[in-house]
Subunit: 118 residues, 2 copies
DNA sequence: GTAATATATGAACAGATGTTCAAATGTTCG
DNA sequence: CGAACATTTGAACATCTGTTCATATATTAC
C-alpha cells in the first residue's frame, strides 16, 4: 500500500520478473523461522558454545571455564540455543549437562566453513 | 586472567574435559568469520533478498519492489551481503544487476530448512 | 553540457541483542 | 532440616543493527 513512496517511482522495474518471483517466495513465517535459526550461529559466544559441544557434552560450568566467560552469560545463551532446539540438556546430580540435539549443527557449521575457505 | 571472578569458583569443572576441548577449539578469528557469515542469514530482509536472487538475478529496484521496501534499505543490505562475498554485481547500462556469487547460499539455506522441518 | 534515471552513502534514530550484577531456584549432602 | 553447590532468572546498561531521510554519485539520453 502507498506503493511508491521511497520506492522506485520509475521505470526500472522489470514487471515480468517481479511478478514471477513474488509468487515463488516462501511465506513470511518460513523466512522468519529460517533467519531466526541462523541468528543462533551469528553470535561468537553461541558459535563457540556449539563448537565446544561438538567435542563433548558438558555442564554449564565447564563451558564457562573453557570460554573464559561468566557462568551467567553462558546460561543465558544456552537458554536461547535450547529454544531453537539446537541443544538439549539433562540433569545429572547437581549439574545440568548440555549437548547437541542432533547433527544439524555439524552440517550447518560445515557448510559455513566451505564458504569461508575459498 | 583474574580467573574466577564470576566464573565457577567451585569444583564442578571437569579439568580433563576442559583442557582437552580448550585445545581443540578453532582460533578466535575463524569463529569470528563463521559467525559473521551466518549473521548474513540471520536477518529477514537479507534472507528475503537471497531467496529472491535464488530465483533470478535482478536490479536493486526490482528487489525493492518485490519486498515492498525502500530502495535505500535494499541497497544498504546488498552492500553488506556483497562484503561477505555471498553476492556480486555487474553494471548493465543504468542498472546494476545483483546475483549470487556461488552455490553456497543455496546449500546453506537448504541445511537450515532441514533443521526447521523436523 | 544538462536533465533524468538508478544506485549509493552518511548521519540520525529506534529497536534488538549480549553481558553484568544481584538475587532466586533447585539439588545434594551432612 | 540447613548449608553448600550448580544453575537460572530478571532488570539495567551499553553496544550493535537496520531503516529512514536527505543527499551524493554515476550513467545514459537528449
Amino acid at each position: 500500500m502507498a506503493d511508491d513512496m521511497q520506492l522506485c517511482e520509475t521505470q526500472c522495474v522489470h514487471k515480468d520478473i517481479v511478478e514471477k518471483v513474488k509468487k515463488l517466495l516462501p511465506d513470511e513465517e518460513a523466512i522468519y523461522d529460517l533467519a531466526d535459526l541462523f541468528k543462533m550461529f551469528g553470535d561468537t559466544t553461541r558459535m563457540k558454545i556449539m563448537y565446544v559441544l561438538l567435542e563433548s557434552e558438558m555442564c554449564v560450568c565447564d563451558i564457562a571455564e573453557i570460554l573464559g566467560m561468566t557462568q551467567s552469560a553462558i546460561s543465558h545463551q544456552l537458554r536461547i540455543l535450547k529454544s531453537s532446539k539446537l541443544i538439549t540438556s539433562r540433569r545429572e546430580g547437581k549439574s545440568i549437562i548440555y549437548f547437541l540435539a542432533d547433527d544439524h549443527v555439524r552440517s550447518i557449521v560445515n557448510q559455513g566453513m566451505e564458504h569461508i575457505f575459498e
